[in-house]
């Protein structure tokens, strides 16, 4: 799996959300997408998941250009946005069965039951999604990814709602995904958490790429660049 982003920019009306981004993701990478609010992180995630189309430049997955018609490519892309992408009126099992059928994955009810068990939602499997807490909805999103097995997994600030057990669950899954040759791109503000598992960090500011380095142990360059974005007084040891 290889994702190539060439000269990517996206404008909303008169404002540039992303300006001339060039990136290259290899299999097995876990990319931390960092930056202040409004830096363009969510826009980049939406472009990568083909929910938005670039104003200039292009994104290619395994040398196939991502454009409007590429529905085949989409089955390899997953977007985990906690609290979203589920029908409140359906039960957990119905939601999973529905999305499985859309991705034309053949999963038996037992497999769905078993996946719900691994994410610890077994005894809610017949409840409506509306009755779940946001943390549990995020676990349901993880269950969905477990079933759909995306190659490129995009995450939009999952840490905000997960409890300790949930975080371990998520990070275990991300590790397994990377071992199977998948790519993980996570936009988050929980810097200390993501730095423990990411293989590379990217910092965006006002739509431009200002930092892109693989992780190394004494990471002074990262600390220098990222210091201005930390809340005052917070010091962390990477």
């Amino acid at each position: 799996m290889r994702v190539v982003i060439r000269n990517l920019s996206k404008s909303y009306g008169l404002l540039w959300a992303l300006k001339k981004i060039d990136l290259d993701f290899q299999s097995g990478e876990c990319v931390a997408l960092l930056g202040p609010n409004g830096a363009g992180k969510t826009t980049l995630l939406k472009l990568l998941s083909a929910l938005l189309y670039p104003t200039t430049g292009e994104i290619t997955l395994d040398d196939q250009r991502l454009h409007q018609g590429s529905s085949a490519l989409r089955s390899a892309i997953g977007l985990l946005a906690p609290g979203e992408h589920f029908y409140e009126g359906l039960t957990l099992k119905e939601n999973l069965r529905f999305f499985n059928s859309l991705y034309s994955r053949v999963k038996s009810p037992q497999e769905i039951e078993q996946t719900l068990d691994t994410v610890g939602l077994r005894n809610w499997s017949n409840d409506y999604v509306s009755s779940l807490s946001s943390g549990m909805k995020c676990r349901l999103a993880i269950a969905k990814c477990l079933l759909l097995e995306p190659k490129l997994l995009l995450l939009d600030e999952p840490y905000g709602v997960l409890d300790g057990n949930g975080v371990d669950l998520l990070e275990a899954y991300l590790m397994r995904l990377r071992q199977h040759g998948g790519i993980v791109v996570m936009a988050t503000h929980h810097v200390s958490r993501i730095l423990t598992i990411c293989s590379r960090a990217i910092i965006l500011r006002r739509g431009s790429l200002i930092f892109d380095e693989p992780r190394q142990e004494p990471w002074e360059s990262f600390q220098r660049t990222f210091a201005e974005f930390l809340p005052r007084g917070e010091k962390w040891n990477s």
Partner: protein, 225 residues
């Protein structure tokens, strides 16, 4: 084949949600009957003219009820960004269109099945034997309404003043359906013979076929814009 399977799944999802919440079906049903009463008070229809005015009033009630249904059509997709979830998936966008057309058609036919006889009772009309053929004309008209209405429901999905904009765009384009359905029903009521209305029905079927194909092809670009 894949298209049909996905359509059925989306339809299953919509019907399940509707069965549980029953918000659209009840709202549309009571709105339809409410309109009948309002017409009764507004028009003071003398007994002998009731037959002549019945098709017009009935179809007007279905038009407004259908518009109510159309504004609610993508409501489930608006919650939790579920539309993004569908667009994320490799599903064929046209199957979403098919499912929504059938869903809205199903709702409207259900309403018509009840409101038709109710109208007959309220305005104590005779011609009970003509009801099936009248219902067939209304069926063709409802198909035309759903085919075009679903597309415009998607067109105005992210527009401001969505509920006002949808009828404003849809009704002028629905004029052939309105004329054909009402005139067709009127002829049947007057002459009692179904064959008389064939010219209007051909127009109606032409409308349905043309705009079903156009909607089927264009829907993908509209929903992904």
């Amino acid at each position: 084949m894949e298209l049909l399977k996905q359509t059925l799944w989306v339809l299953w999802k919509d019907l399940l949600l509707e069965l549980r919440r029953r918000e659209s079906i009840l709202a549309m049903f009571f709105f339809g009957t409410l309109l009948l009463f309002v017409f009764h008070f507004a028009f003071e229809i003398p007994a002998e003219k009731a037959a002549e005015m019945a098709p017009g009033l009935l179809w007007l009630a279905f038009l407004f009820t259908g518009t109510l249904g159309l504004t609610q059509l993508f409501q489930a997709e608006r919650e939790n960004h579920c539309l993004d979830a569908l667009l994320l998936s490799p599903m064929d966008r046209a199957s979403l269109y098919l499912a929504k057309v059938f869903f809205n058609l199903f709702l409207m036919l259900l309403i018509e099945l009840v409101v038709f006889p109710l109208f007959w009772v309220l305005f104590n009309l005779a011609f009970w034997n003509l009801l099936p053929s009248l219902f067939l004309v209304a069926f063709l008209g409802t198909i035309g309404f759903c085919v075009l209405g679903t597309l415009f429901s998607a067109v105005t999905l992210k527009a401001r003043a969505r509920e006002l904009l949808l009828p404003l765009i849809l009704f002028p384009l629905m004029i052939p359906v309105i004329l054909a359905t009402v005139r067709g029903m009127e002829i049947i009521l007057r002459t009692g013979k179904f064959e008389e209305a064939f010219s209007w029905l051909r127009l109606l079927i032409g409308f349905d076929v043309i705009f079903f194909t156009v909607g089927f092809l264009i829907f993908e670009w509209v929903i992904e814009a």
